[in-house]
């Protein structure tokens, strides 16, 4: 058992109350916790409240409409809203595709980079760069330079090879957005997997090599299990950020058919044009509830992330 609390000096200025060990342990956590509660939970609670009203922007009614309590009306509408279901399905597709692809490609890149060759540092530096760009800039680059039908590079290449030009964004809105997301997040996954590869104990690998195991065999039996925690972390962090993807959709398609995910749909309901703050809040609450359910489930499955050795 660790040294007891008595060995740790009491913080200055605290009055005489017996400072139990539990509270002294909690104290360093409190600033961060309280700050986060204050800044994130207050809007959340206000949103819950709005979700029970018909709050709208004042410009949305020519005769001033007082905001009134409408109970579960907003929530009832959500379940009959086919566009919301479309948005949920789009979110699922977009997130799964983007996370899986960036994880796979990132792992391949990491394997490729995990050796010394001429210019390794340079290539790694170049590969990281897309992750460092602003999402709006990345989306603009792809929209104007790569995907554009008139002047885009991809179409110029297709042209010179004799193919017809493809209107990437108009014809494949979801694919275009997933492309940009994967382009930006692969470096992030690559870094995590690279960290995993470099923390692998080399003696076991060398022993396996000596025993004559093939490269593929080593990878499957030794490396992959070791990487599992890193893959899970990449998937978790990537999902949390990619599911909220917004900038790319706003810039590239403006929410075209098949590319409106849930955040963008909620945005359209609220400040993106609908100005129905009450209804939009109800959507948001539904989203949060689902997210918590999914996350709880997922974290049970990805339990290795939480299965830490505890420090008593």
């Amino acid at each position: 058992m660790n040294a007891t609390a008595a060995d740790v000096a009491l913080p200055k200025g605290k009055a005489g109350d017996p400072f139990s060990s539990a509270w002294r342990r909690r104290l360093p956590l409190l600033p961060a916790l309280l700050y986060l509660v204050a800044i994130t939970q207050l809007p959340f609670i206000v949103s819950i409240y709005y979700g029970f009203t018909n709050l709208k922007d004042k410009t949305q009614s020519l005769i001033p409409e007082p905001t009134k309590f409408v109970g579960l009306e907003n929530y009832k509408q959500i379940f009959s809203d086919s566009f919301f279901r479309q948005a949920v399905w789009t979110s699922v597709k977009m997130t799964v595709l983007a996370v899986l692809l960036s994880l796979i490609i990132g792992t391949l890149f990491a394997i490729l980079l995990d050796r010394k060759f001429l210019g390794q540092g340079v290539i790694r530096t170049l590969l990281i760069t897309p992750f460092l760009l602003m999402p709006v800039v990345a989306a603009l680059i792809w929209k104007q330079q790569m995907f554009s039908s008139l002047f885009g590079v991809l179409n110029k290449v297709l042209d010179s090879l004799g193919f017809n030009s493809v209107a990437f964004i108009s014809d494949h809105p979801l694919g275009s957005i997933v492309t940009v997301l994967v382009w930006q997040w692969t470096p992030f996954m690559m870094l995590i997997i690279l960290a995993g590869l470099q923390s692998q104990p080399t003696d076991i690998i060398e022993a396996a090599n000596v025993d004559g195991a093939s490269a593929l065999g080593i990878f499957r039996q030794l490396t992959l299990p070791h990487l599992r925690r890193y893959l899970e972390l990449g998937a978790l962090l990537g999902s949390i950020y990619i599911v909220q993807a917004f900038d790319a959709i706003d810039v590239m398609t403006g929410g075209g058919p098949g590319s409106t995910n849930v955040p963008y749909y909620v945005y359209q309901q609220s400040i993106g044009g609908g100005f129905r703050y009450g209804a939009a809040s109800a959507y948001a609450i539904v989203v949060v509830i689902f997210a918590i359910i999914i996350a709880t489930f997922a974290l049970r499955v990805l339990s290795s992330l939480f299965r830490d050795e505890e420090r008593a």
Binding site: R25, R115, R124, L127, I128, A195, F246, P263
Partner: protein, 288 residues
């Protein structure tokens, strides 16, 4: 260099033929160059004239003209200097606060963990489940009430909240790496929390702090939505400044490219400088 790097770099492992290694090296080069192509093309475009940029030709040569174009704004509109200062202040201040809050929190979750550390971690991550597009209206209403619209402070406050969960998560992982013997030794010596941190823990997790700080800087610098909705004219940050170069009069591709490069450069340089530290930080058994 890690042990592993040293060994990798020197001899070839058993089973690795020299040609295979060289071939993989070439493959890495090809992959890297292809992946970076859109960025390289944008840099190239930023030196062109507008006619060349929109037609993807090169008839008028290359120059820094677009860079000077975007650096000069008319009085009264958002200038590069204002946006840059705003971004810099917001990012630096919010990151410092994030670290100041996350380090003690990580201590409470890793070194002398509280009882319910799993729930606390889950709560921190769960704050990222609410789409910011949904919480924007209540935030807007209160920011208006408290006269925070158009200020840097509102962005600082929000960016701290955005980055804190990730920072706590990461810092906790790094703290878990500190050998228990060192902690116990420090406690037996009777040092208080602050000194423990300073002399024992921080030197060990320093790469982890750098990695966390870098991620916070990246996310804060590139954040667009809150900045757009809560800040106008003088409070605007770099992402908004980039968008002002999307003009409706004629072609703008070259100017937009130049603006994009300028806007992304600080974070890109920081990332390049810190990448080794970041990998080392992540590999410090952060996830063991």
């Amino acid at each position: 260099m890690t042990d592993r790097e040293r060994r990798r770099g020197g001899k070839l492992g058993v089973g690795e033929r020299r040609t295979v290694v060289a071939g993989l090296g070439v493959l890495a080069w090809i992959v890297g160059l292809l992946w970076i192509f859109p960025v390289a093309w944008t840099v190239f475009t930023s030196f062109k004239t507008e006619e060349d940029a929109s037609a993807q030709t090169l008839h008028h040569g290359l120059s820094f003209g677009r860079y000077s174009d975007v650096s000069h704004a008319t009085a009264g509109t958002l200038s590069l200097q204002t946006a840059f200062m705003n971004s810099l202040v917001v990012v630096v201040v919010s990151t410092l606060f994030v670290l100041a809050l996350a380090i003690p929190a990580a201590y409470a979750l890793a070194i002398r963990p509280i009882h319910k550390w799993r729930d606390v971690l889950f709560f921190f991550i769960s704050t990222k489940f609410l789409p910011i597009v949904a919480s924007i209206f209540p935030i807007y209403v209160y920011a208006q009430k408290w006269n925070l619209l158009g200020t840097r402070s509102v962005l600082i406050i929000l960016y701290i909240a955005i980055n804190l969960p990730l920072a706590v998560w990461m810092m906790r992982s790094f703290f878990m790496e500190v050998p228990r013997e060192l902690i116990e030794a420090a406690e037996i010596d009777g040092t208080n929390l602050f000194n423990q941190l300073r002399s024992v823990i921080l030197p060990i997790v320093a790469p982890g702090i750098a990695a966390t700080a870098l991620l916070c800087v990246i996310f804060a610098w590139n954040e667009y939505f809150y900045a757009l909705q809560l800040n106008f004219a003088n409070g605007s940050t770099m992402p908004q400044w980039v968008i002002t170069n999307v003009s409706t009069r004629g072609n703008f591709l070259a100017k937009l490219s130049a603006a994009s490069i300028i806007a992304c450069l600080p974070v890109v340089l920081a990332g390049w400088a810190a990448q080794k530290r970041m990998i080392r930080g992540l590999s410090m058994g952060a996830l063991k």
